[in-house]
């Protein structure tokens, strides 16, 4: 099997093994074993860098459902490689950090199993070439992040946050699935590579724009774009290592990845350009605006993540304009935005990861994340303070840190977009740099709040309960590595640019050959630099006066938030579905049968009549023998007699008579398998009935009113009639070719002379497998129903 496929499978396998080995290691922290996996995978992907940067790609395939063109195809190009490196690299650092962060009372096996599950799912998302495989992994990230957010499930807020993230991201995921299916309907392929190769041919198709918006819906919900950003702050209830991993480096980047991946397919259209850009810009502004009012450090970081994701998103939107122009000077000119997006994607992971870990250290060592209760920590946590400064100054876009470089490129791109000659940008384009600049000022303010309110200023008068010291060395390693990267990338950005960003750019803008610029820290005395200086001046001013204008938030009506809307929808839908459910789930068996058979008659019988499939053709019927007649009459008599039976035993016997007669029919028609099955089933169910028989209440005739009786009779007769009509029509229906000829050579195909079993075990083995699963679940259901009932009846015995 190809190493690339193994790379996805290894985390899943490891997650499956963890429950079996954790009991054997009492002393060793499980994290030391787990960390080997992301480190190995990281090394593997680093090893791929030379291959990818030379312009090649790697792919491998496993058959899944070849007949539908759905196969497990993995594909590594520049874009996937960046994400894969982030996932495994950040994964290693987060696991290392979590070894020191989590206490021994936490359930470590669960934690690491979920984390590995998540890692595998993320790798699957960024490496899949097949749309449906991508979707499966996509939802798997939702589920595994749900488990991680709810890791401390005894907290109400954790459960709330986990549910919220699951509902919103899965909602978007469904939309995305619909979009994928539309793409398949348009193009006839599930392969992303083939879609990209034939991009531009489908813009006139009626489904093109619906598909575009549905795919974007998936990306926006996953990447917490406005107005779906509300789940991200609540997801911060997860343990801090998880927040650092999921909500800075990986999961939220899945949406960004999706937008980047589909830029060649949908980009170059006005709809894509404006939707992605505007949603990104609004998110950038709103996230930064909300971050300032937060008093919880982690909530502040959550909103800043929302804001930064908006920035990256808008850059991908701006860059998509390059596809309109194609290869050439203008294409390269606007393609810079995409390059900046990829650059900021990497930078954001470094500084946000470091900041989350810093906040984790503060929380861990001080015991609170409330800004109002923090201050003066520089004296006791000098190393942590250094990391905090590096992280937040990079986020604010100040020189000497990598965030500065990508921020300057963001300004360049937004200024260029204002002069874009297409997409009516000459009318509205000016708002892009305006929003970009305003949001950046706000970003500067919250970055300063983060550093100065926490580490500088007066020490809080409240006596801390414990002596605050720097955390153990192991906890500092991960943020130290990230801080080194932040500074290192400022001084040698082109190492990253040439080897990773350039191939990734080639994946996002396949037709534009020369968009990758040489990154330089000093780019002349120009508008961009003026904007940065303006940010520092205005930002400092706003930061100094923040307590005066913070009141602005109080003017915003509280009830008009999207959060409130979400809660309302949730409460309403719970209430309504409760009302609807209790209307038909009456707990009265005859009602259920009425619904089931009524539905059956309406839908199946109705379809039969309306589609004109009703037909009788007795010319090819086999002759009916005397035996058949006798058996049929005996069965009819038995069936009619059941409702009039005087005792339960009689009814059971009559029912058994029906079953055994069917078995005889199977014998007559030479179907020994079926006859055997029917006989055994009939016997076992009869025994089962006899077991319960003794304990059933007395058999009494139901004294139902005449109307109900007539209604039941009508339903019964109509059901019987429907089945009979279907049987007769099927026999004389010849619109489709018979499939039985396929099974005639079952011996050559499956090596079995028994066709029935060849079908069950070979041709349609998937059905059989799932049926056995259904059987298993049903068995468990019966078991739990009976056992739980027994427990309820004698609760005292259990307590004692």
């Amino acid at each position: 099997m190809h190493a690339l496929i193994l790379a996805i499978l290894i985390p899943f396998l490891a997650a499956a093994i963890i429950p079996f080995i954790h009991n054997r290691l009492k002393k060793l922290n499980l994290g030391w074993l787990v960390i080997v996996i992301p480190l190995l995978l990281f090394a593997f992907f680093v090893y791929q860098i030379p291959v990818i940067s030379s312009g090649e790609t790697v792919s491998a395939m496993l058959n899944w459902i070849p007949s539908y063109g759905i196969n497990f195809i993995v594909y590594l190009d520049g874009l996937s490689l960046i994400l894969a490196l982030l996932i495994t690299g950040m994964g290693s650092l987060v696991v290392l950090y979590s070894i020191y962060y989590l206490s021994s009372t936490d359930s470590l096996p669960h934690f690491y199993a979920y984390l590995l599950l998540f890692m595998g799912a993320m790798l699957g998302v960024v490496l899949s070439d097949n749309l449906l495989v991508l979707y499966v992994f996509w939802e798997l990230t939702s589920i595994s992040s749900f488990l991680l957010i709810a890791f401390w499930y005894h907290r109400k807020n954790s459960r709330y946050g986990a549910q919220k993230s699951l509902l919103i991201t899965v909602f978007g995921g469904f939309g995305m699935l619909a979009g994928f299916l539309m793409l398949y309907a348009i193009s006839g392929t599930f392969s992303i590579r083939e879609l990209v190769a034939s991009a531009g041919q489908y813009t006139d198709h009626a489904l093109f724009y619906p598909a575009l918006f549905l795919v974007l819906l998936g990306a926006f919900t996953k990447s917490a774009q406005f107005p779906f950003h509300i789940w991200l702050p609540d997801a911060m209830e997860a343990p801090t290592p998880v927040s650092a991993y999921l909500h800075s480096a990986t999961m939220v980047k899945a949406g960004i990845y999706l937008v980047a991946r589909f830029t060649p397919v949908f980009g170059g259209t006005s709809a894509w350009f404006w939707t992605v850009t505007l949603v990104g810009l609004i998110t950038l502004f709103w996230g930064a605006f909300c971050a300032i009012r937060q008093t919880d450090l982690k909530a502040l970081l959550a909103y800043s993540t929302v804001s930064q994701l908006g920035l990256i998103m808008s850059l991908f939107g701006l860059g998509s304009a390059a596809l309109y122009f194609g290869d050439g000077e203008q294409g390269a000119f606007y393609g810079l935005a995409t390059f900046a997006a990829l650059f900021h994607l990497v930078n954001h992971s470094t500084f946000k990861g470091a900041l989350f870990m810093v906040i984790g250290i503060v929380d861990h060592q001080v015991g609170t994340r409330d800004i109002r209760r923090l201050g003066g920590l520089i004296a006791v946590l000098p190393i942590t303070f250094t990391f905090a400064v590096i992280g937040s100054f990079s986020m604010a876009g100040l020189p000497l840190f990598n965030g500065f470089l990508s921020k300057e490129m963001f300004f360049t791109a937004s200024l260029r977009a204002a002069n874009l000659p297409v997409f009516s940008a000459d009318t509205w384009g000016w708002i892009i740099p305006v929003i970009a600049w305003t949001a950046s000022v706000l970003t500067f303010v919250y970055c300063m709040i983060l550093v100065f309110r926490t580490f500088l200023g007066p020490k809080q008068s409240k006596k801390p309960e414990k002596n605050i010291v720097e955390p153990p060395l192991g906890m500092l390693i991960s943020p130290a590595i990230l801080s080194l990267l932040i500074v290192g990338l400022f001084f040698v950005p082109n190492l990253l640019g040439d080897h990773l960003l350039k191939p990734a750019l080639g994946a996002v803008l396949p037709n534009i050959t020369d968009a990758a610029p040489h990154i330089s820290a000093w780019h002349g005395f120009n508008t961009e630099l003026l904007m940065t200086i303006g940010i520092i001046v205005f930002g400092s001013l706003l930061f100094a006066t923040v307590r005066y204008w913070r009141k602005i938030y109080n003017y915003l009506p509280d009830g008009w938030t999207f959060n409130n809307l979400y809660n309302q929808i949730l409460a309403k839908s719970e209430k309504n579905s409760g009302t609807i459910t209790s209307a038909y789930m009456t707990g009265h068996l005859p009602h259920y049968f009425t619904y089931i058979f009524g539905f059956f008659i309406l839908v199946t019988g109705g379809t039969l009549l309306l589609s004109g499939a009703l037909s009788f053709d007795s010319s090819e019927d086999a002759p009916v023998t005397t035996y058949d007649f006798m058996l049929a009459i005996a069965m009819m008599v038995a069936a009619i007699a059941i409702p009039f039976a005087k005792s339960r035993l009689t009814a059971t016997l009559l029912n058994g008579m029906l079953g055994y007669s069917i078995a005889i029919f199977f014998v007559l028609f030479r179907a020994p398998d079926l006859a055997l099955t029917q006989l055994v089933i009939e016997t076992v169910t009869t025994v089962l009935f006899l077991l319960c028989f003794y304990y059933l209440p007395d058999w009494k005739k139901e004294a139902s009113p005449r109307g109900v009786k007539i209604r039941n009779a009508v339903i019964a007769i109509a059901s019987g009639l429907t089945v009979t009509l279907i049987g007769l029509s099927v026999n004389s229906f010849d619109s489709f070719d018979s499939i039985s000829s396929f099974y005639e050579d079952s011996y050559e195909l499956a090596g079995g002379n028994n066709i029935v079993n060849s079908i069950l075990g070979d041709f349609r083995a998937f059905d059989t497998m799932l049926e056995s699963l259904v059987l298993f679940i049903a068995g468990l259901g019966v078991f739990t129903l009976i056992r739980l009932k027994a427990k309820k009846e004698e609760p005292n015995d259990e307590d004692q």
Partner: protein
Amino acid sequence: MKINDVILKTVGKVGVLIIFTFGIYLFISGHHTPGGGFIGGLVLASAFVLLFLTHDSETVSEAIPIDFKKLSAIGVLLATISGLGPVFFGQPFLSQTFGYFELPIFGKTELATVMIFEAGIALTVIGVVVNIIFSISEDE
């Protein structure tokens, strides 16, 4: 209510043996003649049911210490995992193959991977059926 069921017990013992043999025969012969995992499993399960009918459940569970819940779980796992095998040889999920081998006693014998799958089905059926009957009879 205590009835003298010596005859039932004696006949049951012989019957169970016959049914077991028949069930295993059905299971093995399923590839070419009527039988297979589902029917074989059902027949084997009915042998267990007969045991439960003739003897009380405690005696049976002492004599045959099998957790039928686990048995059904193992069956489902076996059926699923047997499908994963071909994936490692580049074949679609659940592909089956067969071949002829010279075995010491049986001579030339056909071995098919579908047998593993069918065994999973059989175990599931036995586990579920016996488990249901067992829980209902124990409840009383």
